[in-house]
Symmetry: C2
Subunit: 210 residues, 2 copies
C-alpha cells in the first residue's frame, strides 16, 4: 500500500514522494498555512490527504514531526560532509561542503511546500524557537567538527554560524522563488554575498582606540 | 532605601549596581548556576540577597526577568546605532556601530555574572530557545534598518545575522576571560576574525557547475 520505509525518517525536510506520506505532508503544510498550526488537527490532516488518522500516525508521531522530522538526518549529512572535506580546505570551504550536502537533501523537497513550512514556522513563536534551536545545534556540531580539523576558536564557531546563516537565508530565498534556480546555486550565491559583505567592511577591526 | 528607578528596565544584561537590584541579580545568577534555574525559587533568591521576596518582585516580574530584563533597551541601542551610523558606512560597518553600542551597555555588567548568566541559559533548553529568539529578533530589526539605509537583500539579512553572531561569540569570550580585555575590543577581534574566515574561503562561490 505504502512505500515509505525508505524515507520514513524524513519529515518537514528532504525528499518528497507522492505517496501517503508525501500527501500527508502536503495536506498538513497547506492546512497549517491556511488555519495556523495550533488550529489544525491530525484528523483534519488525514482527511485532507485522503487517508485515515491511523495512517497519519504510522508516518508521524505528531503534527510537529511533519515540520521537524528528518532533521537528524540533515544534521548527520552536514556534519559528515564537513568532516570529509579535503584537508587543505579552509573552515568556510569545509562548511560549504556541508551546505552542498544539505542542498542535495533539502532541494528535493517541493519548493512550494518548503515555502509553506517556513511560513508556518515563522508565524508561530514556539515553532520558530524550535527551528532556531535546531540550527544552533547544527552550528555547534559543525564547530566541533571544525575543531577536530584543527580550526581554532573563535574561527571554528564563527565559520559554523556563518554556514548555518547562509543555509537558512538561502533556503528562504530558494523557497521564495529565486528565479527557479537550484538550491545549491542559491547557497553558493549567498555564500559569495556573505564574503562580499564581510570583505567590504572597514579593514582591521583590531583593538579599539577608545 | 533603594536607588533603582534609573535602571529599573535593566535585568540580565547591562549596568549593574551593588544595590538591592544588583544584589538580587548576583544572588539569582549564583543560585541558578548552583542548583539550576528550575530548582531556584524567588524566595531563595531574596533570602540570599538579604532582602524580602516583596523586594524581589519590586524589581523583577519573575525569575526569568533576571536573565532577560533589559533586552528591549539593548535592542533599541543596537538598532539606533545602526540607523545613525554615517551614511557612507557599509552594512557591516553600520552593524559594528550597533555592536559598539551594545558593548557599552553589556560591558558594564560584571564579567563573572555575565558568565553565570550564559552558563545557566546554555544548560536549560527553554532558556536557550528564548535567548536565540531574542537574538533572531535583533537580527531582524537590524536587517530592517539596513534595508532602510538602502542595503539590498540578501546582504542586509546576512550582515545583520553576522553581527548578532559576532556579538554572541564575543560576549561568550569576554565573559569567559579573554585576557581581561574590554568587551568592545573582543567584539572588534571577533569581527576581524569573521572577516578573515570569510576572506580565506575559496574565491567566488558562484553558480555551481553541477
Amino acid at each position: 500500500m505504502m512505500s515509505v520505509t525508505v524515507n520514513s525518517s524524513m519529515g518537514g525536510v528532504g525528499r518528497w514522494e507522492p505517496n501517503s506520506r508525501g500527501r500527508l505532508q502536503a495536506a498538513a503544510l497547506t492546512l497549517f498555512a491556511e488555519r495556523g498550526f495550533d488550529q489544525t488537527t491530525t484528523a483534519e490532516i488525514a482527511a485532507r490527504a485522503g487517508v485515515t488518522e491511523r495512517t497519519f500516525f504510522r508516518h508521524f508521531a505528531d503534527k510537529r514531526e511533519v515540520l521537524f522530522g528528518g532533521h537528524e538526518e540533515l544534521r548527520h549529512r552536514i556534519v559528515a560532509a564537513v568532516a570529509e572535506a579535503p584537508v587543505p580546505a579552509g573552515p568556510l570551504d569545509a562548511v560549504m561542503a556541508g551546505l552542498e550536502s544539505a542542498a542535495g537533501m533539502l532541494g528535493q523537497f517541493p519548493r512550494e511546500l518548503s515555502w509553506r513550512r517556513q511560513t508556518v514556522i515563522a508565524s508561530n513563536p514556539e515553532l520558530r524557537e524550535r527551528e532556531l534551536a535546531k540550527l544552533a545545534d547544527y552550528a555547534a556540531a559543525v564547530a566541533a567538527v571544525l575543531r577536530d580539523r584543527g580550526v581554532k576558536d573563535p574561527a571554528a564557531g564563527l565559520a559554523a554560524e556563518v554556514g548555518m546563516t547562509v543555509m537558512r537565508v538561502a533556503l528562504e530565498r530558494w523557497a521564495g522563488g529565486a528565479d527557479g534556480r537550484p538550491l545549491v546555486d542559491v547557497m553558493h550565491d549567498c555564500m559569495s554575498e556573505m564574503s562580499a559583505v564581510t570583505a567590504a567592511a572597514r579593514p582591521g577591526y583590531g583593538p579599539s582606540n577608545s
